[in-house]
Symmetry: C2
Subunit: 166 residues, 2 copies
DNA sequence: AGTTTAAGTCAGTCTTGTTGACATTCCAAG
DNA sequence: CTTGGAATGTCAACAAGACTGACTTAAACT
């Protein structure tokens, strides 16, 4: 299984082969990770980009377009297309900022929240089952490695989001 | 009692919030994970699709087109476009099968291996540094959760690949 | 001989990313 | 107070990479 002894000196023997296994695990796992929401969205006129936008608007209601595009790591033009369809379809509401009228603050409508729930229920179910299968200690390790894998900038944004959540 | 290790029961308290943090960690980490190869490929006429093809051809030299497209989870038309440019540019060699002449067996040329090394060096460096930062126990947990997150079919393919490697 | 399989091709569509150009709003320096 | 730059968001056009569907070729299987 884990080739070398799980925990101890094995780090010193980090072979390219072990690293490549990690790379492939990441690739295959990400496919599983996105599979359920993708399936749900397939029928509708939406894709993964819509899912991500909905997720983070739900996470931080009232966030601005600028905030969102930094989180998502896409250009504002790219995000705008997605956002426009979501607003047109009545899933997202875009309110002109009070203090700064250049800003648009984004909120999910009830319909938007319903879709968000549907999508994240599916994704959470998979995450939950993976967590259960692997056990609590594995989960802690999982999170540690993922955090270490992020770019510094994103890591800070992730941590801010995480700590604001609970 | 079944030794309730540190956090033994915490699985029972898996809140939606904890799961969502895992989901977001996965999202941000994957961005970091692909960032370096993407940067390298940006200048060239290649993208992430070419990287994946090169990776798995290197991993399993002589693999067939059909094998590859199952691993990658794309259609043959999609893979073919990528493969054609790689063959044209002399990075991949496609040999007619000996036993079954319908099959094409794929190999990296020297130039292909050079690019593979360049890409995977970058990706391994990030993986290595994440592993080092998180520690050996975390790495074991990371791998366990990732495996549990894969679709059953892909998990089998991943494990076959993994066990063939070393 | 007839069917199935492996691979490749052509055409068309969709999602999602990109640049470039532009409008609006804010703010600060003259 | 005005004016010019910076920030925010929108519109338009394009490219990469995925998809489906229809078709061809060659080889293998039955």
């Amino acid at each position: 299984m884990m080739s070398d002894a799980p925990g101890g000196e094995s780090l010193l023997f980090l072979t390219d082969e072990q690293l490549r296994q990690g790379i492939e695990a990441m690739f295959f796992a990400y496919r599983g990770f996105t599979a359920d929401p993708d399936r749900i969205l397939a029928g509708m006129a939406y894709g993964r980009a819509h899912h991500r936008a909905i997720h983070f608007i739900n996470r931080a209601p009232g966030t601005t377009v600028n905030n969102l595009l930094i989180l998502l790591g896409v250009t504002k033009q790219s995000l705008n297309r997605v956002l426009r369809t979501l607003v047109e379809d009545g899933l997202v509401e875009s309110k002109v900022g009070k203090a700064d009228k250049r800003e648009r603050h984004l909120y999910l409508t009830e319909a938007g929240e319903a879709l968000e729930r549907k999508l994240s229920d599916a994704q959470r179910a998979r995450m939950r089952s993976a967590y259960r299968a692997a056990g609590p200690q594995a989960v802690a390790g999982f999170r540690q490695v993922l955090e270490a894998m992020m770019d510094g900038d994103l890591r800070r944004k992730y941590q801010a989001l995480r700590d604001s959540g609970t």
